[in-house]
């Protein structure tokens, strides 16, 4: 966990009072909606179909049990008893009253949570691997650098009025769980031949109506130069990025139009011109941030404790363990993913009672720490293996032991037309129906890793372009239709999915997905050939034939 210093605490508290005054002036009529809109957006407050929506940042996906309890309190006290974890390590509350928002913000500020820059044309929440600091083979904890970027970009005057929103993601593992290739800037921590730590810098990824996979702009930027290099990128974007057309304003469009070589050359020129500056990091700055992260005092534990050996006789426990428990860097410990995708439930939602219960389990079994992943699941990052049987029973009681992590019913979905003012079609009911169709966990296990992503509009909050199966809601003559893509992926081999054919109506979506899965089972070369690999090998044609032969 990172402990905020006095500067951070002061900043957050002052921001609460500033927003309280802005809300007061809006409700008294001193501010018009036109004047107020940008102010509320910079504090993560949107107006959706039914109410204001409040988006709260969970920087690099790390939460303490105390913070999660406070989110539960906000859900209960100011909302309708639940929250929605998003694809960018935020949580959203859907029913909040503007008049009560300053009090909710004040309650969150007491535990170091805020909503600054969770909307607006600025740098957004810096996201990272939800297994940061505990994943085997990690170069080093990427949250150190994420926190550095968080501090650097928060209220940065040059980055507060960018042409469009701007998102960072950082990973320090060979396997990318942070989806860095679909971010404006993706950073992959690695070491050079001299053993120095630095970053491969990727630029221009993003989804939405014009999706692009990020391209490498520089294979190695030394850690001490991270801020100056990032600033150089943002200066070039600020100078050349389009402000005349919202649909062409993201950096991905600029990179595409200039070409990566030209863009890289502009950045290099800007960076060289900056030279050694105040932005060149000295080790003490990095160490100061590193020192504010606290790590558990792990015990020396056996690889296979007796409790685990005994519990393995229970097939239900074993199914959950194989699916939801992952290898930890420390012997005797494990990372446990908590599926927020119960059969028939809205993906990514957690009730206030569940949040409180998870906080209690985190205190008991995970050194008080919880992680949030972009797949809209949670994780307990430091669980002693001997505690896994007891944890499983406790999770099962609160509906959080569904053994479907990374399987077909572990669906990523945006709020869609049930909540969102931008949406054209519903996402959640489609996801719910699919989880019911694939409710048999044995069948889902046979199908293997398969990610379904659903977005209710072209803005792609459900990351449909990079779903193994992507589902995009569109509106045709007042009816909900859905375009289906296959073969997308968001990891280190990120790719955009390919459209399989004409959009299908709402009532047929689940049937189409079943057809695609059946085609895959018939076409795969062996049981461990993943869905995306079969699509890569065969292309979309056999799937298209299967889906449209009878439609």
């Amino acid at each position: 966990m990172y402990a905020y210093d006095e500067l951070d605490r002061t900043l957050i508290n002052e921001r609460v009072e500033e927003f309280r005054d802005q809300v007061r002036r809006r409700l008294s009529g001193e501010l018009t909606e036109d004047e107020f809109k940008m102010l509320r957006l910079q504090n993560g407050v949107y107006l959706q179909l039914h109410a204001y929506m409040f988006r709260i940042a969970i920087p690099y996906g790390t939460l303490s049990s105390k913070q999660l309890r406070r989110l539960a309190h906000v859900a209960r006290r100011y909302d309708r008893g639940y929250g929605h974890f998003t694809t960018r390590q935020n949580i959203q509350f859907n029913w909040i009253k503007l008049a009560e928002l300053p009090d909710a913000l004040a309650d969150l500020a007491e535990v170091g949570i805020h909503s600054m820059q969770t909307s607006g044309n600025n740098t957004r929440n810096v996201t990272s691997d939800q297994w940061a600091g505990v994943a085997p083979g990690e170069i080093e904890d990427p949250r150190i650098w994420s926190e550095l970027l968080r501090q650097f970009t928060t209220l940065h005057p040059e980055f507060s009025f960018l042409p469009r929103k701007f998102k960072f993601a950082i990973t320090a593992c060979a396997h990318d769980r942070a989806a860095i290739k679909i971010h404006d800037i993706g950073l992959r921590l690695h070491k050079n031949a001299q053993g120095e730590t630095g970053f491969e810098v990727l630029v221009g990824g993003g989804l939405g109506r014009t999706p692009f996979i990020a391209k490498t702009i520089k294979p190695f930027v030394h850690g001490r130069d991270l801020l100056s290099y990032v600033e150089a990128i943002l200066r070039v974007y600020n100078q050349y990025g389009r402000r005349d057309n919202i649909y062409k304003a993201r950096i991905k469009i600029l990179v595409h139009e200039l070409g990566i070589e030209k863009f890289a050359s502009e950045v290099e020129g800007e960076w060289r011109a900056m030279g050694d500056s105040a932005l060149t990091l000295d080790d003490t700055v990095i160490e100061e941030i590193r020192s504010r992260f606290s790590y558990p005092r792990y015990e020396k534990l056996p690889h296979m404790p007796e409790e685990l050996r005994l519990a393995a006789r229970d097939p239900l426990f074993e199914r959950w363990r194989r699916n939801s428990v992952s290898t930890h860097k420390m012997q005797g410990y494990a990372i446990v993913t908590l599926s927020l995708k119960p059969v028939g439930g809205p993906p990514g939602d957690a009730s206030a009672d569940q949040m409180d219960a998870i906080a209690e389990l985190a205190d008991k079994y995970s050194f008080g720490e919880i992680r949030v992943g972009h797949e809209q699941n949670l994780a307990l990052p430091h669980v002693a293996k001997r505690d896994l049987p007891a944890l499983w029973k406790a999770l099962d009681k609160i509906g959080l032991a569904t053994p479907n992590v990374n399987l077909v019913s572990d669906i990523i979905a945006c709020p869609g037309l049930d909540y969102c003012s931008l949406a054209n079609a519903r996402s959640i009911p489609i996801a719910q129906e699919l989880t019911r169709r694939f409710a048999n966990h044995d069948t889902a296990g046979l199908i293997g890793r398969l990610h379904i992503n659903i977005s209710g509009c072209i803005n792609a909050c459900g990351h449909h372009h990079v779903g193994h199966i992507g589902i995009l809601g569109v509106e045709k003559n007042g009816e909900e239709f859905y375009q289906i893509t296959i073969g997308g992926r968001a990891d280190e081999n990120a790719e955009l999915g390919a459209l399989i054919g004409p959009a299908v109506p709402y009532r047929e979506v689940a049937d189409v997905v079943e057809d695609i899965v059946e085609a895959y089972l018939a076409l795969r070369e062996r049981p461990d050939e993943l869905f995306v690999d079969t699509v890569k090998r065969l292309g979309v044609e056999p799937f298209r034939e299967r889906v449209y032969a009878t439609r």
Binding site: R26, E33, L49, H50, L98, G399, I428
Partner: protein
């Protein structure tokens, strides 16, 4: 941002003006008595572009009470019952279409 009043208004059938209430964001409908109601059945129904423009103008003028006013279609059933004219308005008037009962 272009004001809704600067946009061309074209309606193809009975319509109403809806918005969100400023202090809590609740869905509201403009009434014939120049007020707002949370019930669609209280909405003032207009049938021409000119009527729609006039209703929208008075709605937008109430910047303190309402946010984001716009014209939306309605269906008038036998007996005069006012119903939402599209799925978006159906969801806004009736609420989310999903079951939220997550096990806890």
């Amino acid at each position: 941002m272009t004001s809704p009043l600067e946009q061309k208004i074209r309606i193809t059938g009975p319509s109403m003006v809806t918005a969100n209430r400023t202090f809590d964001g609740a869905v509201i409908y403009r009434t014939a008595s120049k007020g707002w109601s949370t019930s669609l059945s209280d909405a003032a129904v207009v049938r021409t572009a000119e009527q729609a423009r006039s209703l929208l103008a008075e709605s937008v003028a109430d910047d303190l009470g309402a946010v984001g006013a716009y014209i939306a279609p309605v269906e008038i059933r036998d007996g005069g019952e006012i119903n939402p004219g599209n799925l978006r308005e159906y969801i806004r008037s009736r609420g989310i279409t999903i079951d939220l009962s997550v096990p806890a």
